[in-house]
Amino acid sequence: MSPRAVRTRRSLRSSAGLTALSLPARAISFFSGTVGLVIKIALLSVLNALAVWAAVILADHREWIAVAVLVAATIAIDIVYLSPLAGAVPLKFLIPGTVFLLAFQVAPIAYNVNVAFTNWSTGHILVKHEAIEGIKRNSLSESANGKAYTMAPARDAQGKLVLILADDDSGATFVGSRDKLTPIPRNSVRRNVDGEIVSASGFKLIRENELFKLDKELQNFTVPASASSAIQPEGLTTALELTPTLRYDSKADTFVRIKDGVVFRDNGRGSFTSGNGEELEPGWKTSVGFSNFSRLIHNPIVRRPFLKVFAWTVSYATLTVMISFALGLFLAIALDKSGMRLQRLYRSSLVIPYAMPAFLSLLVWGGLLNDDFGVVNNLLHVDIPWLFNANWAKVSVVLVSIWLTFPYFFLVSLGALQSIPAELTEAAKVDGGGPWQLFRRVTLPLLLVAVAPLMIASFAFNFNNFNNIYLLTQGGPGTGDDVAGATDILISYTYKIAFAAGKGQDYGLASAISLVIFFIVASISAAAFWRTKSLENVR
């Protein structure tokens, strides 16, 4: 490196440091006067207004604890920011961070943990009383030779709600009240060309708005038709003879099947089930303790491929990060030479994979790698089953992940290289170090101080990189009769067993697995961070 280059670089850095120091200072002085006060009042007002608004809504839903917490927190924030005490200053800086931490980290995690202990899944999303209503509704069935009627709700002379009914088969006409079905003369009921009832002598038909207000009453209106069945309105102009197949006993909290007397009891896991395991739908959402976690251990489709999938997940994430870092760093060093022609063009073209939406790149790569019709095989005149062979699919997935990740490390390394003091490399050169030694002993250790935490973050990201896997191979190709495919990582496998198995969506199980994955990633990252601490000693 020429002395001139060293000088320019150093002077650049120091001038950057100067502006970095003076800008905040100037900003502070600008905002500490009246301007700052006005901004502060405005922001606090907005906050208070939002809090009052939220409190009104919460009170509307009778969430009194939440209202109390909200009010207390808002008052506390107001006091801190309006307080003239010097002791409140650190709090002023801590509060925004804490609020965001609570809102965007702690709350979702708490929610996730909460879900992991419930049976929230297809068939278990309502609360119990809604589920009971649902079962009653579903239990109605058309009687074997039940009649269908054209219907019109009306009021009788006393103003009571009745149904004017015309049998669709025989044309016989009736008036139905809550306690009986009474024939009325056919000519007392007038019908239009569509067959709809337009008037009935002695009764006043209920129409439009008045009728719509009666919706709830109509839903529960039944005219006894036989010992077991009843005529019920269905819509606005039809009534049917329906028989309930189940009877709910509210005292015992059981459903009894009328046909054979089978009793369905609350099984404690959100369903009414009979002695031989028959289940009534819908069920409801309820707490099930550790059963989702015990399913993880006892369920063969989860347990059997777990180690295989786990090993692949770790190697996938490690390979992606390591190779991308190596490639990014290599390119960064190669393009770090000052005075290189078209340097900016090279640099910006290398960032393209990063700038393109990953969704698009993945879909395009899927097409490029098609083994009979893909561009890659056609250009290279090879016949590699990129996506159809288990091992090649793994290679493809890693390659595409590297394509998407290396620009990131290229950018980071480029920045980190600038921050290595030129004196150090100069001194190493004077001491007679070759380029490789220089890189190995000076550049890389210093670089890792800055980049290692980012590598850990990238590892954690790729560990859970659902998109890369799902858009490219959907976890496939399948291997034997395992649910896990060759390229399934833990998160895509979780998706398969929680959302494409059993009855469909199983949020409880999914949350339980993601908690487990969280602990795996957290312990790997913690261990890695602990290792990188030793790197900082090189300073």
Partner: protein
């Protein structure tokens, strides 16, 4: 000090003003208490909105109500219905029939009982597709449009096949003419596509779920590797060897090959009707010729469903009147099906279809099997498609027999894992 006091007073004043604004603004709790009694909220996708608007208007005039037809992202209707707040929830939704099992098992849609005279206007499978129950089937929706795949023949390159043997011979003969040619453009790709493959599956005796005695679909009776099908599965190995079906052909490749006349036969559905009309060569659409059994396609049926929220909103009778009666009439059916370019479910309305492509798609769906609507179907797609991919991927393909046995095992394992 003066500054501090001013600040406090200022805050209070501004807060009060802001609160007043927010509470008066629409969407605040006060505004939510609007009269629900005479409006119906309907979730439809943007394609259907104009047709639904018109039908709801016509119906509403005769009933004295107004509809509130909201556009909702089609793919999200099902899952959003599970999380939406009751006050914003729709009374009626549009959706494909294979959502029914999931929605009914969750207790979110209510059974409908249309009049017999109305039901008679629909083919049995259209009503069955919207029926669900663990013990007894109930109807949960009003079907209005059918869709299914058909065998599309480029009649400039090939004749409409008289039999499966004829089809097979013509396809292979065409493939041999040019290295770029594909015998049959049927989409699979590495992920597989059990939907498009279904005619070949059913033609060899395959089925997904059997029915229990009471006529409901049973997730315990998996037919993916039933004896009859396994006996015929050696034909798949022959198709693979001859290059009749190749799983490396994905959707884009298949479409391209047919449009560029590198394939004389294509398996596709009415969503490509415009492609067919503008292809620049004559096409004919038929059902895939009978292999061992009739090679029927999967049927997708679209319909409207009444949600449990209609009852909460006090519009249950209205919603049932609209969906279970008015929307099932042939006039409404024609308009609804035409809006998204599908064949109407109502037979009377079906007779009035004049679009020749649509008519041919309708005929090719005869005898078709509605995609199973039970929620367990989610466990099937990936593995069934995967078995086809493995069995038809060319040189290193798995014998079909073992591929489908493995798929059936994986499906059974996944179904057993459900809580």
């Amino acid at each position: 000090m003066l500054n501090k006091q001013m600040a406090r007073i200022g805050t209070v004043l501004l807060a009060v003003a802001a609160v007043a604004l927010l509470i008066l603004a629409p969407g605040a709790p006060a505004a939510r208490e609007r009269a629900h009694a005479t409006t119906l909220t309907i979730w439809v996708d943007n394609v259907q909105k104009p047709a639904v608007d018109k039908i709801v208007d016509d119906w509403g005039r005769s009933r004295g109500v107004t509809g509130n037809v909201l556009i909702h992202d089609f793919g999200k209707i099902r899952d959003d219905l599970k999380t939406v707040k009751a006050e914003n929830a729709p009374d009626i939704i549009v959706g494909p029939h294979d959502w029914v099992g999931d929605l009914a098992a969750n207790g979110l849609v209510v059974p409908l009982f249309p009049k017999k005279a109305v039901q008679r206007q629909f083919p049995g499978y259209a009503l069955q597709s919207f029926s669900y129950g663990t013990a007894t089937n109930r109807l949960y929706g009003a079907p209005f449009a059918l869709e299914n795949v058909a065998l599309v023949v480029n009649t400039r390159l090939a004749r409409v096949p008289k039999s499966f043997a004829d089809f097979y011979k013509q396809a292979l003969a065409f493939k041999r003419k040019d290295a770029n040619n594909i015998a049959l453009a049927i989409p699979q790709g590495s992920g597989g596509d059990a939907y498009h493959m279904y005619p070949f599956f059913s033609g060899l005796g395959g089925y997904v779920f059997g029915r229990s005695k009471s006529g409901t679909l049973s997730a315990k009776r998996i037919g993916v590797a039933n004896k009859t099908f396994l006996k015929n599965a050696t034909m798949i190995d022959k198709w693979n060897r001859d290059g009749f079906i190749n799983s490396k052909v994905d959707y884009g490749t298949a479409k391209n090959a047919f449009v560029k006349q590198n394939a004389a036969f294509w398996i596709t559905g009415p969503w490509e009707a415009d492609t067919l009309k503008t292809a620049g060569f004559p096409v004919r659409l038929v059902q895939v010729p009978k292999i061992k059994f009739r090679s029927v396609p999967f049927l997708g049926v679209q319909g409207f469903m009444v949600t449990k929220f209609a009852g909460t909103h006090g519009v249950n009778s209205l919603a049932k009147d609209l969906v279970g009666d008015y929307m099932m009439k042939s006039g409404s059916q024609r308009a609804l099906a035409a809006a998204n370019g599908r064949f109407p479910a109502n037979r009377t309305a079906g007779k009035t279809v004049t679009d020749s492509i649509l008519k041919q798609f309708g005929a090719a769906g005869a005898g078709g099997v509605p995609m199973p609507n039970i929620p367990q179907m989610g466990s099937v797609w990936g593995d069934l498609g995967g078995a086809w991919v493995k069995a038809t991927k060319g040189a290193d393909a798995t014998p079909a027999r073992s591929a489908f046995i493995a798929a059936a095992r994986a499906i059974a394992a996944k179904l057993a894992s459900g809580g």
